[in-house]
């Protein structure tokens, strides 16, 4: 994967989440906790599967912490660090 900026990663994740939840991209705010956006267990797992495929990661084998999953921004930051 070519090196992507955090903003690009955020945008990709946001677009995918909007598609999973069948809502407008504008409703997805990157610094809000996912549960306040209406993300549930299914949409969360769908998002994880997308991240693994898109960014070629095995999330369970990384040092990614529960806290890293809380917002799109923290996720993007974490993905960017792992891919460095």
């Amino acid at each position: 994967m070519e090196k992507k900026k955090i903003e690009e990663i955020e945008e990709e994740i946001s677009q995918r989440l909007a598609s999973i939840m069948s809502c407008a991209r504008s409703r997805i705010e990157c610094d809000k906790p996912l549960h306040t956006l209406g993300v549930d267990s299914l949409s969360f797992v769908e998002l994880l599967v997308f991240i693994e495929k898109e960014f070629d990661l095995k999330l369970m084998e990384t040092t990614i912490d529960k806290e890293d999953f809380k917002t799109i921004h923290s996720l993007a930051l974490c993905i960017s660090k792992i891919k460095k």
Binding site: G38, D40, S41, F44, V45, L48, K66
Partner: protein, 424 residues
Amino acid sequence: MKRYLSGIDWVINTLDYLGRRRSGVGNISQIVLELLGRPEEKDLRKRLDNCLKAIPALSGYPKRAVNLCPYWKVSGRSYPLALNVYNLDNDSGFTEALSIFRDQLDKPFRNKREHLVFNLIYCRDKTYFGMVFDHRLIDARGAEAFLSMLAQEPQELSPLNSLEEPSNLNRWLDKFRSGRKINRVFLHLTAGKPRVLTLRQNSSNSRLSVFAFSAQESRVIADNSYKSAGYLMLMPYLLAKSIVCLHSIFEQRKILPADYLIPVSVDSRASDLVKQEPFFNHLSFFLFRIKTEEAHDFAVVLDKIRKQMYEQVKIGLPEAIKEASFLIRIAPLPLVDFFMRVMTKGETASFAFSFLGESVFAPDTFLGAKVCNLLHLPRIPLPPGLGIFFNQYQGRLNATLSSVKGLLSESEVKQVDEYLKGLA
């Protein structure tokens, strides 16, 4: 006017057919608002009448078009409103209200056009407002959105997109591919009969227990879930707890060991979309299989559920079920029922489970009365005749144990009740 039914709608219609064939009552549920105050009956009657007239789909019924695609016939003729009113002046409060709601769940609709029955129970300074609904017309989250609409002034009723649905008589190759995918998974998951409880007495009536956790208790459950299952994993956590709880009942009964099979309905639509499209079914399913010898160990069960959920999302099972179910619409209900029984060897599941998540119902008041809680009371006919259901209203968790009367003994019900209470 017609609204084509989706494949999932047809699966729900099959479950309705199965329920009516076995117990005389279709696939129905009830949603209940607990209100502080006493809304006027005549105001409610007027509001309901206006709503039923404004939405003709509420008195429609399923038919089949010349292209063989089933549809919901939407006629301009509305059906007279069914509103039952009760006054309870004793101290039994919610217990008696619950028994009224339970009795209503065992009554069939009066005719093919009736899909909603309302129950208004005045109980001193509180009121319980229940809506029995036909799952063919509306799913659980849709029912929450519909109650939100009822809480609004009639002129605020928004146009409904859900009455526009294409026939989906295209992209057959995609549908067959999805069918092949779910067939492989189902053959693996449904190998061998699942472990099921047997009925102790001949009955088709319902039994219900409800637990409303306080805000503090709900936070404790959410914290425990976060610690042991991870962020946003409340559904797998509650399912794992439910399996461990019911496993102890199966073990005490010395039911022949077999794997537990639990279908879980899911709908990941954002709440705005549910409000725009409250009618018909927008769900899909996960199917979890847990070995008997592992079912006592909560950590193992939780791990299995998370892994199976991840694998099923990875192969796109929920989407494939939605897509492939279009293929069965051509078959009449008795035939779909027959194939479902053959595929599942007569036993569809060990028990039913769902976690609805935060409620779509938004208003703080209903006809001037403060909304204190929102409950779901689903009717679970045999098979499997047993289900545990969770929903969340303003961050507070509710659990409902629904079963066919006689499937669990009173001491077993008490045991499950204690376990569910002990979650907090």
